[in-house]
Symmetry: D2
Subunit: 138 residues, 4 copies
């Protein structure tokens, strides 16, 4: 079911998105993809909260990874829609861990959702659902 | 963890929302609430598809039920936001089954999400996340 | 810019969605489409509030109308995503009026948003954005 | 109607969010707030596209600015929900301009939406709606 494993995904994401740093694909199987973000100062807002754009980016990377894990290298898939709920303040000084699942992988559109946790915590700090437009394959 | 069981929830929803018909709360536990909708002609669009508003209503009932299952009878909780993805055409002539989980139950806001399936199918036809404003308790 | 005028749109919607009742396309021009819903008992929740699914349906009809006004009869366009904010309680005993604008009309996807008002009021009761998948044209 | 003018808003945002750079509040009146982002290399993805998180951040700043323009300095307002549609590829080498309007300013929640344009273009590249939780005022 999985076309790319965690390690191959990780290498590919670093290759196509060299701007991203601090991310690591920890796991990729038929059920879900797990991504860890090593939170650094540049991700923070005053008071030590992780910024909204950082959580959005993490969610985007996680679902994008879930798509790639299934269909392989498709560099041109683009995010067309995202809906995100910020539910709790992330714990200070901890990594963020995103767990994404793919709900639909169609010919034209893919849909996934993701829960984001402060590492070691039970309750999610955010949830996000995302839609991607998949370019026609030749 | 559960304040109201499935049967009590079912009775309460029928009492406060007498306009709703065809719904049944099948299960309510600490993890999730499952609601079945007996699809009838009034829920359909041309071609036999279940209408979008019907799936929205089912998602709303399911997450509302999940809130009630935890905090008991709070008739004034109101939906403030919903985001829904319609992913597949529901199978003709089948019930819809919604499985909702509560992701946050705060003092002011509650957030839940839900997957909707055609009965007996593995792949969800829709996903929805909803936010509710909870009135102050005296 | 407008392929179908309000009256033609109205007739077409009644033809393809005979289940819908109480809707009237009041205006359709290059900027926006305005749809009126004659609120009836079946649209209400206890306390006289218009139900969420009713507002969702109105938003869906309005943006769908905006698409049709531009590209003509495309019965197979389907809603793939909707995000709705319920912001105020609609005034009792008044029509709802939706004003939709088309933000993107692509080859594959169309996106529009809509504000819903209680007739005669300045402040919107709800906002909604919707995405539609447009079938390939032969 | 406007409690803080564009210049005061600009100064305040730089004070409370020193991490943000490249933003300028250009205009703030009763109708809308306009924010310009000077797009730099750090905002780009391969191919010269502005990244999704950058557009999300711009939308967030613009609606937050619209709230502040009306109620003054409320540093603790937090984003609880956002829904964003990415509709077109931003033009290369141009600023992004966001125009936000406030749709609801309640005691507990505020809702706004925003269109984002490549500077000088008519068609929006993205739309976003956001909800904020407003802390109780003493």
């Amino acid at each position: 079911m999985v076309t790319m494993e965690a390690q191959a995904l990780d290498a590919y994401l670093q290759e196509v998105f060299p701007q991203l740093s601090g991310y690591r694909i920890e796991q990729a199987d038929a059920e879900s993809v797990r991504v860890r973000l090593n939170v650094a100062d540049r991700h923070l807002r005053p008071g030590g909260t992780v910024s909204g754009p950082t959580m959005f980016e993490l969610a985007d990377v996680a679902v994008y990874g879930a798509i790639l894990s299934r269909i392989g290298k498709v560099p041109l898939a683009v995010t067309t829609n995202a809906s995100i709920d910020f539910m709790r303040k992330p714990a200070a000084g901890r990594d963020l861990v995103a767990v994404a699942r793919l709900l639909k992988l169609g010919r034209i559109l893919a849909v996934g959702d993701v829960l984001i946790f402060s590492d070691g915590q039970d309750q999610p700090v955010a949830r996000c659902s995302l839609t991607y437009s998949i370019p026609p394959r030749r």
